[in-house]
């Protein structure tokens, strides 16, 4: 049979089995199963049974296409595959694989439909199914939106089961023992007499068979790995200094590049003088790049020094000159002609808010992602191909972008996704990759690594937008009867999509995410998104819209409760329309001994947010000391439906809380003439160990769907802290960062 014929048959394996296993919801406008990209590049003796499992004589490789930015994605994906494949994680290699449409992410589309996350009606699920099909169609291989587990929970287990059953069929053909009498264990098929045939000896035969299309996933009671504490696959490397990140790439003959970019973001490069830089030790060349100038040298530090020595005439930024200008643009957006969405409009808010309404205005600042590994990319332009080594959440977009820069076809752009030293959304962006390719095009055959200095990384980040909110509410008969929240923000999605040449069809759901879809039945309840004019170039920042919107919604809910002497937990429970949320609220109240007396200088605050479909409630306890506010303890309850690894779950919840509270306390990027006034960690400060409170976490599994946990712990932290500070001091904090108004110990 021709090679083409074999490929066509083998690639049918995962697609058809996935449908049998129930991955594909509803109807597909695009029914053909995805091509298996591993088949394009197999070495002699290798077999790729699905796009996720590759076996050769030396071992088994699990393909984990969602990037690991620290959130443990490689481990959790490997565990889902290994559970059904019957291998242990110490027996396999883990590889992110090539960029390919086969690794599309469907779960991300769940955020894009205008239905409450708790709505499982036919209409809501059908919309999600259509959105899923669209994601598959465009082959959206993206890591983000807390989707790695929701997207992979079924798909990866099915892939593991298909590979296992096909290997069993191969063993049956080889030995004559019927498949029903075979078992699998630790990467071997076990014959009835106890003899073990390693998968590695069966893979070649398995690859020639008709796939085993019907697989039944195991009952959770049979799981060996899922739900039990795991050791991360990268933990030893990361504890011994042997983990290698994109910034650590070494290639023969590699040169090192640095950039000096126009500090006035979006401004032109009118002219520059690189004569001093070119005269410096180790400098090889100076190259104009998108947004500024690059220096190539034989050492990163020498490149940094030379970049600093470039003198340039920078054009002005299109941004407002002052922060007052930014806030004025946001304030001006509260008007009908800027209205972007009104997905929630229950009752009659305007009629209900009549007598003595409670009102408030809130602000959230620009924030940098500032992952500790500065962004970087290494590019080698060779003959007939381009190779790029970088940590990215969007490998296919990298391919497309480099195809434009280099004029090579996308299939000739080879993206080697690297371990990532933190992202928080920054590695959805591609500026560093584009600039590295611009440099590499001037020195074909020589690999070049572009490393941003911390200063360039921070001042040219695509920030979390500054956002403003205005709220009105009404108490009637001792109950919250109306809540009207307007949120004004430029569109993150339009800004991000604009950078890849796409436009956002329709409203930006992130302008109101974390506010409009909350599971409460307030009789008169309205959430309106207003799209402000583009200001700074902005991007997704861990938990995206919910990072600001929960602060507005939950702070104002607390204000309404206090105005009427209502208990904020009891009032939320009274209004709650979702059982999973109710248990989360009850759990955090019990953990924190909510309602028990506290000393006069202490206070407790609660906040809740359902983001990415995951309900999370947090209670903060603070003390008002002579030196300032001290955060004593935090209690968190969260429900993800199914906890894959309790160790990683606990780590992600605590990390998310620390992220949320640290930035709420002190995080702020301010622009003057379009230039960031914070350049490094001395002025863009974040939480340190001595400020870290004790955090107690409880994970629940009542929810009907499996949800992610990388982002949802972030949004409630800021309002829970603000509400606790109010309880301790009587001071209401409506603007982040809080340190502009109170001292922290």
């Amino acid at each position: 049979m021709s090679r083409l014929g074999k490929i066509a048959r083998r690639t049918f394996l995962i697609g058809s089995a996935a449908i049998a296993g129930g991955v594909a919801f509803g109807y597909y406008m695009y029914k053909r199963p995805p091509h298996n990209p591993l088949l394009d590049d197999l070495a002699e003796g290798e077999a790729a049974l699905t796009p996720y499992v590759k076996i050769d004589a030396n071992g088994i490789t699990l393909i984990t296409p969602r990037a690991d930015m620290g959130q443990g994605a490689y481990s959790v994906q490997a565990a889902l595959l290994a559970e059904e494949l019957d291998v242990d994680l110490d027996q396999v290699r883990v590889d992110p694989g090539p960029p390919d449409p086969a690794y599309y992410n469907t779960a991300l589309s769940q955020e894009a439909v205008p239905f409450y996350p708790t709505d499982t009606s036919w209409m809501a699920e059908t919309s999600r199914g259509v959105a899923d099909a669209l994601m598959k169609f465009i082959g959206m291989q993206i890591t983000g939106g807390s989707t790695t587990v929701p997207d992979g929970y079924q798909k990866l287990r099915v892939a593991g089961a298909v590979a296992r059953e096909t290997l069993k069929q191969a063993a049956s053909n080889k030995t004559g023992v019927h498949i029903t009498r075979l078992k699998t264990e630790r990467a071997s098929v076990i014959l009835p007499d106890g003899e073990a045939i390693p998968y590695t000896e069966l893979a070649q035969l398995a690859a020639t068979l008709e796939p085993v299309e019907q697989v039944t996933l195991r009952d959770p009671s049979e799981w060996r790995l899922i739900g039990k504490p795991m050791q991360r696959v990268d933990i030893v490397e990361k504890s011994t200094g042997t983990a290698r990140y994109g910034i650590d790439i070494e290639l023969d003959g590699m040169l090192h590049a640095a950039v000096k970019l126009n500090p006035h973001i979006g401004g032109n490069v009118n002219s520059y003088d690189a004569s001093a830089a070119l005269a410096m030790n180790g400098v090889r060349s100076v190259v104009p790049v998108q947004g500024g100038v690059a220096v190539v040298a034989n050492n990163t530090w020498r490149a940094f020094q030379a970049a600093d020595a470039i003198v340039a005439d920078w054009g002005p930024s299109p941004m407002p000159e002052t922060m007052e200008g930014h806030w004025a643009a946001l304030s001006d957006a509260f008007s009908p002609d800027h209205q972007d969405s009104r997905n929630r409009d229950d009752g009659d808010v305007d009629a209900a808010i009549s007598v003595g309404p409670v009102t408030a205005e809130y602000r959230a600042p620009y924030l940098a992602h500032a992952p500790l590994e500065p962004i970087n990319a290494s590019v080698l332009v060779g003959s007939g191909r381009v190779d790029v080594w970088t940590g990215t959440q969007v490998p296919r977009f990298v391919q497309e972008a480099l195809s434009k820069v280099t004029n090579f076809g996308a299939s000739d752009i080879h993206v080697h996704v690297q371990m990532i030293g933190g992202s928080f959304g920054h590695r959805l962006e591609m500026d560093v990759v584009i600039q590295a390719a611009e440099i590499a095009m001037t020195m074909q055959g020589t690999p070049v690594k572009l490393t941003y200095s911390r200063e360039q990384d921070m001042t040219h980040d695509f920030t979390r937008p500054a956002v403003m909110a205005r709220a009105r509410g009404q108490i009637d008969d001792g109950k919250i009867s109306a809540l009207d929240l307007g949120i004004a923000s430029p569109s993150v999605m339009a800004s991000q999509m604009g950078r890849i040449g796409m436009s956002l069809p329709g409203p930006d759901a992130q302008i109101v995410a974390g506010a409009w879809e909350q599971p409460f039945d307030i009789p008169n309840y309205r959430v309106t998104g207003y799209r402000a004019q583009p200001l700074a170039p902005i991007s997704s920042w861990r938990s995206v819209g919910a990072s600001t919107n929960a602060f507005f919604h939950e702070s104002f809910f607390d204000e309404l409760c206090h105005s009427a002497g209502l208990d904020p937990v009891m009032e939320r429970l009274r209004l709650c329309n979702d059982d999973t949320t109710r248990k989360v609220l009850e759990t955090v109240a019990e953990m924190s001994n909510w309602g028990s007396p506290m000393a006069a200088n202490r206070g407790r605050g609660i906040a809740f947010c359902m983001s990415f479909g995951t309900p999370v409630a947090e209670v903060f306890e603070v003390s008002n000391t002579p030196d300032g506010i001290k955060i004593d303890q935090v209690f968190v309850a969260a429900d993800v439906g199914r906890i894959i690894d309790p160790v990683n779950f606990d780590a992600l919840v605590k990390g998310g809380v620390i992220w949320g509270l640290g930035h709420a306390m002190m995080g702020e990027i301010t622009y003057a003439k379009g230039a960031s006034e914070q350049e490094n960690f001395d002025t863009f400060t974040s939480l340190r160990l001595y400020q870290t409170p004790k955090i107690e976490v409880r994970g629940l599994e009542n929810g009907a769907k499996v949800r992610g946990i990388g982002e949802p712990p972030v949004p409630p932290a800021a309002p829970a802290l603000a509400n606790a500070i109010f309880a301790a001091t009587g001071q209401r904090l409506r603007d982040m960062p809080f340190r502009n108004a109170v001292n922290f110990v």
Partner: protein, 153 residues
């Protein structure tokens, strides 16, 4: 210029003002030492000189006058140092990028203060920034490492 790093001798020909960090990373290819800020504000570049923790991004190579130990020389996969073993036991790392520096800082603390109080841990470790928020497990791991070192493990 001669350097002794992780028990090996090297001769390097670089400017005296080049930070030790970049000599280690780009000249000697010791990549376990990390660049985070370049201004001694994050601690990712922490190494030991004569067993004392220093920020290698702010240490000119010409000023180095002792033996250098990096995360790669502190211990290795076959012979873990007690602090590294505690970091694995508690699964401290998330992205892991700051952890070389965190471990070197903790090793320095425990060499001078074998049984640190919470306040001493806070003081010693608060110069090391972690953006993922692994601080609760860093606290636990430092205490485990102290107990293991005291027990002779």
């Amino acid at each position: 210029m001669k350097l002794n790093v992780d028990g090996r001798s090297y001769t390097v020909d670089v400017e005296a003002e080049m930070p030790l960090l970049w000599v280690l990373r780009d000249e000697l290819k010791i990549k376990g030492v990390k660049y985070g800020c370049g201004i001694a504000a994050c601690g990712a570049c922490t190494v030991h000189i004569d067993r004392v923790a220093v920020r290698s991004c702010q240490t000119a190579v010409g000023d180095v006058d002792g033996d250098i130990t990096t995360i790669e020389g502190l211990g290795n996969i076959d012979a873990l140092y007690a602090v590294q073993a505690a970091w694995i036991e508690h699964q401290v790392a998330q992205c892991g990028y700051c952890q070389s520096g965190q471990i070197m800082q903790a090793a320095d603390l425990l060499s001078t203060t074998p049984n640190p109080t919470d306040a001493e841990i806070d003081d010693a470790m608060s110069g090391n920034l972690c953006r993922c928020g692994t601080y609760p497990r860093i606290r636990d791991a430092v205490k485990s490492a102290a107990a293991n070192l005291a027990g002779g493990n």
